[in-house]
Structures are given as structure tokens and as C-alpha cells.
């Protein structure tokens, strides 16, 4: 065992217990502290309504997908294809509506089915092959990254699909996924309500349903869960479909909001969802986490994204900031996990 060991911090104390039962607490404290910090650094500009509106508008797409990615992580798996799936969903909707003249609502339904099928593909492959989901979904990531651009060029002659607002059904769909409340720059999108609602439902599923217990059990001890009759494979496949569905929602929302789709969009964002989930207290090894935590993790990204330029710093520091945050959160998660492990064997 040449592995680096976390120095002993004494016997597992009440703080470990709290960290296990309320994993999102750390991220909540971090979000509040960061908001205070950037408020001071920006001489109060951070707390003005237009700034907060920008924070939320930055955070919501990450938030919706991070919540799904968080649930998947609790079950012990990863999904690297979520970012590019946003582009897939948007491109599908765009091609169907602008090139094939389809009603947007029909295009919405068909693109959902295709995205869910891709999630099913990820899940079934992970369960059947037993390979790490990291590898399987990385394959899907590259496959979709190529297909998104190639297919949109094939159908539209360009990687940019435009004029989605000309399609039938645009107004009604816009009302549901992209309505604006308030006037710029103090404007808030209806997407925030979707984000909040999705987080609440996910929290409810996780803590108050049978399926939630299966998610924790699958990631907590897969063999134990299987031994007592938990449908471990079904739970995982369902969660891969959930992450794909979340990506679809963000993809089509953006397509309708901006009326155009860059087929290459979303690439690289998959890491932000994973970081948001980890910062929100979901354990990379599974078995521990919450749905509200990843939502807060995405909010932290929003605060940093808007706060750093407001504080007068070069906005390139955003990336470095997020890297440090990921490392800190992972370290804290690891220490908690280590405490749990040693308390178990002792």
C-alpha cells in the first residue's frame, strides 16, 4: 500500500455524520461566502439585481444538467456525453424544424426520443460490458461530437442552424421554455423555474421514493444492493437516460431562445456538470450526495463567472478558480469517505 494517506483527524466525529447526511451543506456555505467576497471585491455591484440576474442566467443550464449528473454520480457512474448531447438536441430540433419543415412540438418530441435512446445506449453498454462509464460515455462523446457537426453540415450545408423562429409552433414553445420576466438587464428567464422545479422533484425522488433508495444503494454497495433485490442495472440505465434527458431540455431551450444552434456547442461543458455535482457534495465513488448540492454547485459557477470580472480581475481566472474549487471539494469528499471507511472496518 504505497497510496498516499489522508492524515488522521481523530475518530470519526459528528462532522462526518453531518457531512454524510447533509452533503450539500459545504457548498451552501461556500456559495454564501463567495457571494459576500465578490460583493466586497466589487464594492456592492455584485448584489445589484442585473448582476444577480446574470448569475442565475449563467447558472441554470449547468444547474439542470448537474442535478441529473449528480444523481448518476450517487449511483456510482459518470456521463461525459452530457455536454455534447446539448448540441445534439439543439441540432436535431433545428434540422427537423428548419430543413424538414416539421412542427416544433413534433421536433421536440422526436429529439427527446433520440436523446433518451442515446442515454439508453450509454446505460445498457455500461451494464452489459461492465466497463467504466468514463470510457463508454467518452466514446459516445466523440461519436456525437463528430455526428453533430457532420450531420448538420450534411442537412443544412453549415454548422450553424438558423431561423428556428420561422417554424410552426415557435411561439407556444417559446412561451414554455424561454419566456422572459422583467426587462433587460433585470430580466429573468422561465428556465429558472424549470431549474428549481427539476431540483425539487429530483430531491423528492432521491429522499422520498423507492427509486431514491435504489440510487443510494446502487452507489453505496452494489453487491449488497443486488443481494437484497435492488434492480441495480435498471437504476443505472434509468439515470443515464435522465442525464440525456436533462441535456436535451437545455439544448432545446437554448435553440428556441437564441433561434439558432451551433452544432458544435456544449463540448467541454460535461466537466462543469461533474464539477458542480462534486462541489455540491456528491461523492465520485458513489453512495453519497444530494440533488440540491449540484444545483448549488452550478450557482457557485455562476457567482464566480460573473463575480470575477466584476471584481476587476481578468476573466481568464474563472477557469483557475474552478479548478481549485474542484480540488478542494474532492479532497473534502475524500476525507469524509475515508473517515467512513475506517470507521466501518474498525
Amino acid at each position: 500500500m504505497s497510496r498516499w494517506q489522508i492524515p488522521a483527524l481523530g475518530k470519526a466525529g459528528p462532522w462526518v455524520q453531518t457531512a454524510v447526511l447533509r452533503p450539500e451543506l459545504g457548498s451552501l456555505v461556500a456559495a454564501v461566502l463567495l457571494l459576500m467576497f465578490f460583493s466586497i471585491a466589487s464594492s456592492g455591484a455584485m448584489l445589484e439585481i442585473p448582476t444577480l440576474a446574470r448569475v442565475l442566467d449563467t447558472a441554470w443550464p449547468y444547474g439542470i444538467i448537474a442535478v441529473a449528473v449528480g444523481l448518476l454520480m450517487i449511483s456510482g457512474e459518470f456521463d461525459l456525453s452530457t455536454g455534447v448531447m446539448v448540441g445534439t438536441a439543439g441540432a436535431l430540433l433545428g434540422v427537423m424544424a428548419t430543413e424538414w419543415g416539421m412542427n416544433l412540438w413534433l421536433a421536440l418530441l422526436l429529439s427527446l426520443l433520440i436523446c433518451l435512446a442515446l442515454g439508453l445506449w450509454n446505460g445498457v453498454l455500461v451494464v452489459w460490458t461492465g466497463l467504466p462509464s468514463f470510457v463508454i460515455t467518452l466514446g459516445t462523446f466523440f461519436g456525437l461530437r463528430g455526428a453533430n457537426v457532420a450531420l448538420s453540415k450534411y442537412f443544412t450545408g453549415d454548422a450553424l442552424i438558423e431561423n428556428i423562429d420561422d417554424a410552426a409552433g415557435y411561439d407556444s414553445l417559446h412561451a414554455i421554455v424561454a419566456t422572459v420576466f422583467g426587462t433587460a438587464p433585470s430580466d429573468f428567464r422561465i428556465s429558472l423555474l424549470w431549474w428549481g422545479g427539476f431540483t425539487l422533484i429530483a430531491t423528492w425522488i432521491l429522499w422520498r421514493t423507492k427509486i431514491g433508495n435504489w440510487i443510494f444503494a446502487t452507489g453505496g454497495d452494489r453487491e449488497a444492493a443486488r443481494a437484497v433485490g435492488v434492480p441495480v442495472n435498471g437504476t443505472k440505465i434509468g439515470l443515464f437516460m435522465l442525464t440525456a434527458g436533462a441535456a436535451w431540455f437545455v439544448g432545446v431551450s437554448n435553440a428556441v431562445r437564441y433561434t439558432s444552434v451551433q452544432a458544435g456547442q456544449g463540448v467541454g461543458a460535461e466537466f462543469f456538470y461533474i464539477i458542480a455535482a462534486v462541489v455540491g457534495g456528491c461523492a465520485m465513488s458513489g453512495g453519497r450526495g444530494s440533488a440540491i448540492g449540484p444545483a448549488i454547485g452550478a450557482l457557485i459557477w455562476g457567482i464566480a463567472f460573473v463575480g470575477i470580472p466584476h471584481a476587476g480581475w481578468n476573466s481568464d481566472w474563472r477557469w483557475a478558480f474552478y479548478g481549485v474549487l474542484l480540488l478542494l471539494a474532492t479532497l473534502i469528499n475524500h476525507i469524509v469517505g475515508e473517515r467512513v471507511r475506517t470507521a466501518r472496518s474498525g
Binding site: Q17, K210, A225, G287, V340
Partner: protein
């Protein structure tokens, strides 16, 4: 029921053969298992009765783990048959055996460390209430039912919201045994439940095993420790080289004679003569 006293008892004994100790809960006849050319176990005939603790003892490789694995459906027998309530049955998986009331509790207790006690207790068998998409985990009932089951066995684990990793080894056994009892275990198979425990915790777990038996469960206990077996056991099955060599009731044994049997019994004598004549 307003039936006449005599017909009542007559019909009882006819329709519910498990009532008396006459028909065993679980019986094996000529049970055996081969792995390739190796005969791991052969010709075992045993009947397990409700309310009894049957201790399975023997050396490593004597066949006792193959025996219990066949009872709980993890390994299929290659010879002989298993009778549940007098009817021949076959278990193709532990899950199927569990559905029929034969539950095994292993050393690694099938608990997820970071889940709360009640979540662990109901893992895979969550009680639900509500309708359609509003169907939800009945948390109130879960906590209450778990506490009730634990109380019946005299186990106090404190706050049901504790994470399972905070339990001691003995408490973990208590939770696992209570869970098995809750799901209606008629035959409870325990694989070395006290092997990793200190004296006090072992005592608590042994008391728990007694109480489970008093509630009418047939308990099968595998343990390498004669003191533990002697204190809790009604019956002792001694395995040697893939055969059941002794089937003794506790009245016929002292701790010394049990220790002698568990240490290999006749093998010890054989070994002594072998050394003496060498």
C-alpha cells in the same frame, strides 16, 4: 371460530403440519455436491426444526460452507433433495430462497455504509404509500416498523437516521438479523456472526440468536468457536472431509466434548496414533 374443541385440534394437525415439531421446516436427504472430480460434500441427511439453533461446525474444507450455500440457494446440489415443509424444492437463486423464507446473513452484511439505518433496513423492499407518480417511500412507517422489529429482538440502535457506518460490529449483526426476521425468515442462516466481535458484543449477538429461535425460527449457525456454539446451540452438526460425521443434541454434550469434536474429534486420535507409531 366456534368449532368443537376436538375437531378443531384434529383439523389443525391435519392442515398445519408445521405446528408440532414433527415435520421439520427444512429437511435435506442425501444431499451432495461435486466440483469437477472433487466431492465437496456427500450424503448429508439433516432436518431443521422451528425454534432450534443448529450449529454447523468443522474444519476448513470440511464442507460446512458448501452445505449452507446449498441451503440458501447460492450453490445447487448435484445429488439429493431439499424439502421445505415436507415438499421437495429447488432454489435457483438466493432471492428465490429468501422469498420462501430462507435467509442467509453473511459476514459482510449487505449494508451500504453511508445510508441511514432505516434506508438500509428496507433496501430492496421499500414500503410505499400513495398512488401512481405520487407513490412514495413510507418513511414514517419504515422508521417505526424497524424500531418495532429491533425492540422485539431487544436491540437498541438509537437514532434511525444514523448512517450504517457508525454501527459497531455487533450492532450491524443486530440490524441484519432484525431485517431478516422482518422479511419473515423461517430459516435464518448465520455465517460466523461473532468471528470479528469482542466478548461483550458476541454475547449480545448470541442472545439475539436465542431470541430469534424463541420466536419460532430455525437458526443455522456456523461458528468456529466452541464456547459460542455451546452456549447457543440446541444441536450440533459436525462435518469432516465432506461428510456429516456427528449429529448431536446439546443434552448429550459437555463443552469439553464439543470442543473435542470441533477440533477434529476422531482425527485428533488418529493423528496421535500416527505420531506415536511414526
Amino acid at each position: 371460530m366456534t368449532t368443537d374443541q376436538s375437531t378443531q385440534s384434529a383439523s389443525d394437525s391435519a392442515s398445519a403440519p408445521t405446528e408440532g415439531a414433527d415435520v421439520p421446516v427444512l429437511e435435506v436427504r442425501g444431499l451432495g455436491r461435486q466440483f469437477g472430480s472433487v466431492q465437496a460434500l456427500q450424503d448429508v441427511n439433516v432436518s431443521l426444526r422451528a425454534g432450534e439453533v443448529t450449529c454447523v461446525v468443522g474444519d476448513n474444507g470440511a464442507g460446512k460452507s458448501v452445505f449452507i450455500k446449498m441451503l440458501c440457494g447460492l450453490i445447487r446440489p448435484s445429488e439429493g433433495e431439499i424439502l421445505l415443509d415436507g415438499v421437495a424444492t429447488e432454489f435457483s437463486s438466493p432471492r428465490q430462497a429468501r422469498a420462501q423464507g430462507i435467509v442467509a446473513v453473511y459476514q459482510d452484511l449487505a449494508l451500504a455504509p453511508m445510508m441511514s439505518l432505516w434506508r438500509n433496513f428496507f433496501m430492496g423492499g421499500e414500503p410505499v404509500k400513495g398512488w401512481w407518480i405520487f407513490q412514495r417511500f413510507d418513511v414514517g412507517y419504515a422508521k417505526e416498523a424497524m424500531q418495532r422489529e429491533l425492540e422485539k429482538l431487544g436491540v437498541n440502535l438509537g437514532d434511525p437516521d444514523r448512517a450504517a457506518h457508525t454501527l459497531s460490529g455487533g450492532e450491524r449483526q443486530g440490524l441484519a438479523i432484525a431485517r431478516a426476521m422482518y422479511y419473515g425468515a423461517r430459516v435464518l442462516i448465520l455465517d460466523e456472526p461473532t468471528s470479528a466481535l469482542g466478548v461483550r458484543q458476541s454475547g449480545a449477538v448470541l442472545r439475539l440468536i436465542r431470541r430469534a429461535a424463541q420466536r419460532g425460527t430455525a437458526v443455522v449457525l456456523v461458528t468456529p468457536k466452541p464456547q459460542h456454539a455451546f452456549w447457543v446451540g440446541d444441536r450440533f452438526l459436525v462435518f469432516q472431509r465432506g461428510r456429516l460425521v456427528e449429529d448431536r443434541r446439546s443434552e448429550t454434550l459437555t463443552l469439553e466434548s464439543l470442543s473435542y469434536l470441533m477440533a477434529g474429534g476422531g482425527e485428533v486420535d488418529e493423528l496421535e496414533t500416527a505420531i506415536a507409531t511414526a
